[in-house]
Amino acid sequence: MNTIPNRQKSSAKKNTTNESIASCRNDFPVLNQSINGQKLVYLDSAASSQMPNQVINKITHYQNNDHANVHRGIHALSHRATNIFEETRREVSGFINSKNTNEIVFTSGTTESINLVAQSFCRPILNKNKKILISQLEHHSNIVPWQIVCEQTGAKLLVAPMDKQGQIKTVEFIRMIDSSVALIAISHASNALGTICPIKEIIKAAHDNNVPVLVDGAQAIPHLKIDVQELNADFYVFSGHKMLGPTGIGVLYGKENILEGMPPYKGGGDMILEVKLSGTTFNELPYKFEAGTPNISGVVGLGAAINYLNKVGLNNIYSHEKILLEYLISSLKNIEGINLIGTASNKVGVQSFVIKGIHSHDIGTILDHQGVAIRTGHHCAMPVMDFYKISGTARASLSIYNNIEDIERLTQGLHKVVEIFA
């Protein structure tokens, strides 16, 4: 049964007929395959996005031609690898509009970036009178590093509440800010719910109290144009693999004066100026935080992903995903027994849902059987699940390469789920 009103369908189709976006899909070779005999529909980009040929080819080209260790050798390859590596740092800096490249530290991902700030920035300044303030909609990676550092120092972890729609209660959040708060750590967008958080307002209120703010941008970076200076974030962290790049590479942006005052997080090669057995002089920013041989091909891939996103344009991507999200939401509402989880007015392309009497893993298996990949479970956000008193959700998340047909395949698949459990 097709429950999608034709009028709505045709208008959604018309609105997404942006040729540059529609043709993007052809850049992603992984999408050109069948799962269980049906063309793959990938709706799990919030867990990890796929890579376009432009990224895959750039990494291959680098490995085929230019690979050597960076910042070390005097030979041609080392020189080339170092150039590509540092060129990418400039591209990242431009992409999020940091003041300069010293503010861009390469890490293994968002999780490592947050742990770095917890241990290097927070640990030395925390004590039993200090607090870390987070929100109720955070991913485990923006909860557990703070729990660990609070355990180590006796500091307290405060959690600001959200409402039924999955939106942060801004007034209550701001009311919790005072001079005893050492750092606020908050998602720009929620991975489980898609909510875009009012980070600009929170950063302003935090700075009025001289409290620095870390923004977890993992779910925002592939969807929204980020300007760290305009946001005035003190730290902004994200991962390559959520933004069409490879896994194992991420970024810590930090304001230069703050990063300068922080001790190194890890010790090793590349982060030193001089090592004597009696003591070591640490290198300057950003190398102070990049101990050991970095993930060079990951950095190369991240640079290619940034170029790709820039070429398509973040504003185009946002508009494309917004139309798809609206269509997704209106289509899901037609499924029998469905309950949408996360209904904020301002969201990225993520929609969680539950269906009465049907566990999310059964939904996931039946959809997979029809070639549709979604995420099921608690999405590493168990406190969010506790808030809604559910064990997990099914979650469809959108990217540049999705289209109206993908959403129709999802809803057809969900009708089958309901039929099996009827």
Binding site: N32, Q33, S34, G37, G357, H361, D362, I366, G392, F421
Partner: protein, 159 residues
């Protein structure tokens, strides 16, 4: 176009009517009021949580098994079937049955699921063999049951 190797994972084999029936209306769901052995199983990635209560008499015969918890259709139906299959069994027989069923679902054994305990409905669980990521769901209740008889009382997992 790339195609995956053919997989014979028929949805109707996984979600047989028996499974759906037990998932929607699990048998012996609840807790035992009197003396019982309690065991607990959790699959943290899935979020499945199951508690099993076993009432064992002096002759080591299982009087009754109850369970409670949350989980997918496969884990709930499988545990519901367990409570029927193993009731009135001697504990050593029940343990053998659980062990052979777990082996069977992992394809480690050629023996039929029904070789130890005769309950036709248990065969419905064999559908998970074509869905490797769901075997842990079908075995959670059975592993949890087995832990009732081990000295180590830790919470078990099949992930």
């Amino acid at each position: 176009m790339k195609t995956q190797a053919p997989v014979n994972n028929n949805l109707n084999q996984l979600y047989k009517r028996v499974i759906i029936k037990h998932a929607k209306n699990p048998q012996n769901f609840g807790r035992l009021g009197k003396k019982y052995i309690l065991s607990e199983g959790i699959n943290p990635l899935c979020g499945d949580k199951i508690k099993i209560y076993v009432d064992l008499n002096q002759n080591n015969i299982i009087r009754k098994i109850c369970f409670e918890g949350t989980g997918c259709a496969i884990s709930i139906a499988s545990t519901s079937l367990l409570t029927i299959a193993l009731e009135k069994q001697k504990s050593n027989n029940a343990i053998k049955c659980a062990e052979s069923l777990i082996k069977n679902l992992h394809n480690d054994s050629k023996s039929s699921i029904n070789s130890v305990v005769n309950l036709d409905e248990l065969k419905a669980l064999e559908g998970v063999k074509d869905f490797p990521s769901r075997i842990k769901c079908a075995t959670l209740g059975w592993q949890t049951f087995l832990s009732s008889f081990s000295d180590n009382s830790t919470v078990i997992t099949t992930e």
